[in-house]
Amino acid sequence: MYDIAIIGAGIAGSYIARELTRYKLDVVLLDGENDVGNQITMANSAIVHGGYDAPSYKFKGRFNAPGNIMYEKICEDLDVPFKQCGSLVVAHNEYEMATLHELYQNGLKNGVPGMRIIFKEEVHQMEPNLNPDVCGALYSPTAGVVSPFELCVHAAENAVDNGVTLKLNHLVTDIKKLDDSFKITTTAGDIEAKKIINAAGVYADDIYEMVGEPYFELLARKGNYFIFDKEAGSLVNKVIFPCPSKKGKGILVAPTVHGNLLIGPDAEPVDKGDVSTTSERLDYIKENALKNVPSIPMNKIIRSYAGLRNTPVKASFTTTDGDFILEESPVKGFINVAGYESPGLTSIPAVAHYVVEEIVVPMFPDIEENHEYNPKVRKHLRFEEMSDAEKEAIIKEDPKYGKVICRCETITEGEIIDVIHRSAGARTVKAVKKRSRAGMGRCQGGFCSPRVVEILARELNCTLEDIMYDQQNSAYILSGKTKSAAEEVL
């Protein structure tokens, strides 16, 4: 029996799992997918927000700025790329300028450091490619961009290194409350745990309903995005937000931490699991992004995708409407981490600390600290970022670093082998892509995906047909061999 089962290995579940390893607890991290961080974590804006948006009485306002402050350290420990590039919320008129002042005041309440309202000349000096009509902006220097899936994967890796059991392809189908524990039925067997942390993203309400009377409901809201070639990556230096309206934060234009350009997202209520892009929505994004940055080169798009937000539509009993749900539910021992939408990514270091210290620790009176807890993951050797001398040295040490597999991003075989053999390692082509960036470039895996399939098959000691793009069994890449008649004779 586990002390705690975490349902959902997205950024919330994975990071909380890691945070729990500060204590001597037997933790299992469950996910229905074939990899960690495969849903909301995989497709979002990748922004580390300053923290001026949400009101201070909400968890969203309370944890954003402290989470932001913690990012530099956690990204160093977890070896995750993070660029504190700052953000601008831009205004086109006096009416919008007034909104910026409100945001500024709210930011002060939330403890956001270094904000300034800046005016036309300074805005355009900072961002020469902005629409000339922009007359002012709220500058928030602590905002930044991060790689959310790398953060999630490395948090899960670190959690496993510190003793957490990770079980993928364990889709939870039922939960029974026993006297002092829960019996969790999954598609890959039963699991018993004393406590449950429900971090199941957009499905968290469905998971809760397996044990308790529904008291909150989640709405899946889809956002479409475009990623541009690195040639367009320096079009803006900072995250550019339009002035927020009742509809939300609007279409942002941002550099990514890896040097691409990202635009999006819109917001559209959809069925859970609908991550399809639609042409009208994609057109809407292009149109709106151009309002603030008119010179976005639409012929440099390398990918479009959609992701979901899990927006709480009914208030929880401890928090206000539309806030994160972070609490022990009416079912004792069952903790909900739900409605975890933006600024969830930014807030996670602070939220995980809160959930563990304020909710979990009091549940275990005899809890002991884990003195062997190591917050760091083994350093990733990123060939492209090395100096000439380092490159020379690493190939001498391991010749696999001398073989470039992904031409576009200059990712070597050594790096791909490494991400396969780490804790919470890659098992699929998409998992390799998330971890190493092989296939993320302008050719989108055209050249390297056959090589990645080969490397995965070799390192995992299976056949090429066994290698999946993503989901187990169903997302196959190859349907079989040619010349099966002759192959059978062999």
């Binding site: 798009i301 995708y305 490159k391 010749p399 696999k400 470039v404 031409r407 200059t410 056959p450 061999k481």
Partner: protein, 422 residues
């Protein structure tokens, strides 16, 4: 050591350029290839139809490649395989190239001249932004070609192909022969982007429908592809409501264009042409950086390898002339694309380097019937090429004699599509 000519790429362009440079007197020539063997993309193009212009016989891709590989080996041209070029730095007379491979590690290569022959890559589903899901089972035609022809694996069984580029057409037949069911080839434009002969022998022979003015409006399937929605498009290439058709399939191949691979070129600060997505080149394929040449699909996407070889001989010759100090650098003419023409290569001509004729390669923007391509300097018509049919898929090969060009001191040569004089 300092090489005379280093060729970046061991495909058809690189091989032909290296062979020519060596024959023309460059002593130390080196080929750097990123794949595990020489021959480039031809190794996976196992179909026939190559070499009709060059060898006057019909060869398959590997056979065509082997003829050039043999020449390179006979001339004793050394080569590195599995070797990736990290960058090219122009230090004036000597150029520095950093490369890596497993065997030799990190190497610095110095050379007097460089020929860029990195080829091209395929446009992806990401670039064309097809709405819908992002499941497994969507491949570029070239990726599928490599899987089937070289690795011996099938990417799927029920196939739809988007784009009627030659690789897509070839793969329609190839997958059919290997037992797959190719349900349709959809082409956005009202005309095919592939060679007519490929439509006949790859589609018509197997009763595979070619749906012109059709596109894919939705990709279905969360894990593996389950089907595509196909719709007809209007004159503005927008889907026409009500023409939707759902085609179940497990595989979607994309043959929607090729893009020259010029990352090394751009990083080296070489002037680019937005029309070709390749470097601006002269009659001997010299780029804006003296001593750096480029040829083949890295300059502009060719439809026939024979013309790649033809162009690469020019670049090889140019490189050897450059190291011998025989290359004139004064451009006499520039070229430009007028009505109906998408691009022209070369973009510059230095007359002193021209032997007898200059061949201008160009593509038309749309299908034309019974038109001519005219070349003008100012208002003066200097040459005409008659074509029964002009197709964007088929490169126009326009030769102008040196004697004709020599009548003009300098200027801009403008190519236009016009009505034939009655």
């Amino acid at each position: 050591m300092i090489y005379d000519v280093v060729v970046l790429g061991g495909g058809p362009a690189g091989l032909a350029a290296a062979v020519e440079a060596k024959k023309d007197g460059a002593n130390d020539v080196l080929i750097v290839e990123r794949d595990r063997e020489l021959g480039g993309i031809l190794n996976q193009c196992i179909h026939n139809g190559f070499g009709l212009h060059t060898f006057n016989e019909e060869l398959t891709g590997p056979e065509y490649a082997e003829r050039y590989i043999k020449q390179a080996l006979e001339l004793g041209i050394p080569y590195y395989l599995n070797t990736m070029v990290l960058d090219l730095i122009d230090n004036g007379e000597i150029k520095t190239i950093h490369v890596i491979n497993e065997e030799n590690g990190y190497m610095t290569i110095e050379t007097k001249a460089v020929v860029l022959t990195m080829g091209c890559r395929e446009r992806t589903s990401g670039a064309i932004g097809i709405p819908g899901y992002r499941p497994a089972g969507v491949f570029t035609a070239g990726t599928a070609q490599r899987f089937i022809n070289m690795e011996g694996y099938m990417p799927g069984k029920e196939v739809v192909i988007l784009g009627s580029g030659d690789i897509g057409l070839i793969m329609a037949r190839r997958m059919t022969l290997e037992g797959a069911n190719v349900k349709a080839v959809c082409e956005l434009m009202p005309y095919s982007n592939g060679l007519v002969r490929n439509i006949v022998q790859c589609l018509d022979d197997y009763d595979i429908p070619l749906k012109l003015s059709h596109t894919i409006t939705f990709i279905h399937g969360k894990d593996r592809l389950e089907g595509v929605t196909v719709a007809q498009v209007d004159d503005r290439l927008k889907p026409i409501p009500g023409t939707d058709e759902y085609i179940p399939c497990d595989t979607l191949l994309l043959s929607v264009g090729l893009i020259p691979e010029n990352e090394i070129t751009r990083n080296a600060g070489i002037e680019m042409d937005r029309r070709t997505n390749g470097p601006v080149v002269g009659e001997l394929r010299q780029t804006s950086v003296p001593g750096v040449f480029a040829c083949g699909n890295v300059v502009h996407v060719h439809d026939l390898v024979d013309f790649v070889s033809e162009e690469s001989v020019l670049a090889g010759k140019g490189a050897s002339m450059y190291i011998k100090g025989q290359l004139d650098s004064e451009n006499t003419f520039t070229t430009t694309n007028g009505d109906g023409i998408g691009y022209v290569v070369p973009q510059q001509v230095a007359m002193k380097n021209v032997d007898e004729t200059v061949t201008f390669y160009m593509r038309v923007r749309q299908v034309f019937k019974d038109k001519v391509v005219n070349a003008y300097i100012g208002d003066q018509l200097i040459a005409t090429k008659k074509e029964k049919k002009l197709l964007p898929a088929e490169m126009v090969n326009f030769k102008i004699a040196k004697d004709e060009l020599a009548k003009y001191p300098s200027g801009e040569i403008r190519f236009v599509v016009e009505d034939a004089k009655k």
